[in-house]
């Protein structure tokens, strides 16, 4: 108990040093909380971008197609009949669904061409599932049966295309025969999803089906639910229902998609970077303990002469450092909470920071306009505990070094 009292009294011994070390820890914790909030916000927006523009909440697909999806095959497609639609529409939280036929194509403007992903869609159903309505920079969505196309503004810019221009899509149909689809550009999109902006060309489903010679088949059906939390449970339920119609059909929820797992992996990488920030706090603590030990060498010698054991001397140093960690942790939490509060209310406009000509979406960060932070109480608890534990652990070695000094050398240390 007395040693505990001594340790806490030592905290105010060199007030400035204690404060500086605590500030370093507080700053590290503050940055961690802020970055965690930003990453959380970015991840949330990233998930929403994938859901809102690319994948919806559920995807109904033939399992064999799913396995080869990257090649955009025209085999193992599905026919969506009334029975399938009824089963789909009856699931909990159902809002809308949109069939799509995906294919690879070369987009030609008469002079140049680029590889793209074509999507045959039913316009009104696509607009119900995806948040594309407000993303048109120029023009609008086409109607079924029209030889018209919609694509990303960025893709159009690359080929110097604009609304009203004509494009040719070079495709291979189901029988590996070359075919072309000519269409007029009806509208250009600019979404928060770089994949949509750079790679996708939307066309009416019936025209694509005819050009690819796939009758009334589609690659998949995208389903939108009331909220994304329902997805996993509903996916299993719907899959079981659809298996009765076709054993090969599967249902995938948004969080099973590869793009989402990549976003998760990015988050893990960021956590590693943040761990480095806390390492700086550990170095500050080690530095403080070594300085304190060097200054108190005679005192350590005296303590040993009084009969204190090594572990008791280590205890006083470790407790002192832990105290600094707690102090820094509390200040860091308060600053962090304030920062996140500001961040969630006012957000950050990366466009302004990076310059108006640069979009974060260009770097694969699916953010357009302002980005807002999210509250993550778990991270507050985690970083505080981590800060205190780091302070505790990083002081053990220098404290052990100090407490292991020969008592005679320590007493007569000059």
């Amino acid at each position: 108990m007395f040693l505990t009292k001594l340790a806490f009294k030592n905290l105010i011994r060199h007030r400035n040093r204690t404060v500086v070390t605590a500030i370093i820890i507080a700053f590290a914790i503050f940055i961690f909380i802020l970055m965690d909030s930003m990453i959380g916000g970015m991840t949330e927006m990233s998930y929403n971008n994938i859901i809102d523009y690319e994948a919806g909440h559920l995807q109904l697909v033939n399992q064999k197609y799913w396995e080869a999806e990257e090649e955009l095959p025209l085999e193992n497609l599905m026919v969506v009949n009334q029975q399938v639609m009824t089963k789909t529409e009856n699931i909990q939280g159902y809002q809308a669904s949109s069939p799509e036929l995906n294919f690879s194509a070369r987009l030609n403007n008469g002079t140049n061409e680029l590889p793209v992903i074509g999507k045959g869609i039913i316009p009104n159903r696509l607009m119900q599932v995806f948040e594309l309505q407000d993303q048109f920079v120029v023009g609008e969505m086409f109607s079924p049966g029209e030889y018209k196309a919609v694509m990303g503004k960025r893709l159009a810019d690359l080929l110097k295309l604009d609304k009203g221009d004509y494009i040719t899509l070079l495709v291979k149909d189901k029988n590996e025969t070359f075919n072309t689809i000519d269409a007029e550009i009806a509208g250009l999109l600019h979404t928060g999803n770089p994949n949509i902006n750079n790679n996708i060309v939307y066309l009416p489903l019936d025209i694509v089906q005819q050009s690819l010679n796939v009758d009334n088949q589609v690659s998949k059906v995208i389903v939108r639910l009331e909220n994304k939390d329902l997805a996993l449970g509903v996916a299993n339920q719907l899959e079981n229902n659809l298996k009765a119609i076709n054993d090969n059909w599967s249902v995938y929820s948004w969080d099973e998609l590869e793009a989402v797992s990549v976003a998760g992996a990015k988050e893990m990488g960021n956590q590693m970077i943040l761990a480095i920030i806390l390492l700086i706090a550990a170095i500050a603590i080690i530095n403080t303990v070594i300085l304190a030990a060097l200054e108190r060498m005679k005192e350590i010698g005296m303590m040993k002469a009084m009969g204190l054991q090594r572990k008791e001397i280590i205890y006083t140093f470790v407790l002192e450092s832990t105290g600094i960690g707690i102090l820094g942790g509390i200040v860091g939490l308060i600053l962090g909470a304030f920062g996140v509060w500001i961040f969630t209310i006012y957000g950050i406009d990366f466009g302004t920071i990076m310059g108006s000509n640069i979009e974060m979406a260009s770097f694969g960060i699916p953010v357009i306009g302002k980005m807002y932070g999210v509250w993550n109480p778990e991270s507050f608890l985690l970083v505080f505990s981590f800060g205190v534990i780091v302070s505790f652990l990083s002081s053990i070695l220098p404290a052990y070094w100090a407490a292991s000094k020969d008592p005679v050398e320590a007493i007569y240390h000059s």
Binding site: N10, K304, M306, G307, L308, Q309, V408, I411
Partner: protein, 234 residues
């Protein structure tokens, strides 16, 4: 009965490849209650001998028996416990803990050895502080005390746990002659009142008058062993 027995104690320090003998074979017996001064020129081995006696350092050869216990049989923890319960130290630079008050510096020593009730502990600390003339100064921190007052706190700290032996390494070296005299008189008083065995080193001839026994050390050997006043135990 002898409190302390040293048999042919040698201490050799290694400085690179050179061996520097600090003690060349000390034989000494100290009885309980003795008030002994160790004197000699700088580098003669006074401090080394006190460090051996105080279990802070181990001899290169020879043996030390403290109150019937062979020190070489004890490990680090055993030596720490022996110091904690039986030996008080007073150093010339006081070595007080600056963040603790005079009261707390003394309290620290007694807290290590026994679990007293709050009241007993307070009485004990206040009594010893009063005995060393620090009545009313117990709430002061070391930086608010004079050199003499600091040394009194150090003496109180060494004595409060009622050790069998107090070792003082040049306790008056940093004090003026008047304060030095007061401190030595205080140590004599404690020796007489409590029967505590004192061994202190000095090279100041003025302070030797207070001792019952004077050991002169030269070149790592006891060159003279003079007895003056009678022992307290007599």
């Amino acid at each position: 009965m002898a409190l302390l027995e040293l048999y042919n104690v040698k201490k050799i320090y290694q400085q690179g490849k050179i061996e520097v003998p600090a003690l060349r074979g000390i034989d000494l017996t100290v009885e309980k209650g003795e008030f002994t001064t160790v004197f000699g020129p700088s580098g003669s081995g006074k401090t080394t001998m006190l460090n051996m006696i105080g279990c802070l350092d181990k001899p290169t050869s020879g043996s030390i028996n403290f109150n019937g216990q062979e020190l070489e049989d004890l490990d680090k923890k055993g030596l720490a416990m022996l110091r904690r319960h039986n030996i008080g130290f007073i150093f010339q630079s006081y070595n007080l803990i600056p963040v603790l008050t005079a009261y707390e510096n003394v309290e620290f020593a007694i807290r290590l050895v026994d679990k007293h009730s709050k009241k007993e502990l307070r009485d004990k600390v206040m009594n010893i502080l009063a005995n060393v003339g620090l009545d009313g100064l117990e709430a002061r921190r070391p930086n608010e005390l004079s050199g003499g007052q600091k040394q009194r706190v150090a003496i109180a700290r060494a004595l409060v746990k009622e050790p069998k032996l107090v070792l003082a390494d040049e306790p008056s070296a940093n004090l003026d002659s008047k304060t030095s005299e007061e401190v030595l008189e205080l140590m004599v008083k404690m020796n007489e009142e409590l029967g505590t065995t004192f061994i202190f080193s000095t090279h100041d001839p003025q302070v030797m008058d207070y001792a019952h026994r004077m050991l002169e050390i030269r070149d790592g050997l006891i060159s003279e062993d003079k007895r003056g006043k009678s022992y307290v135990s007599d």
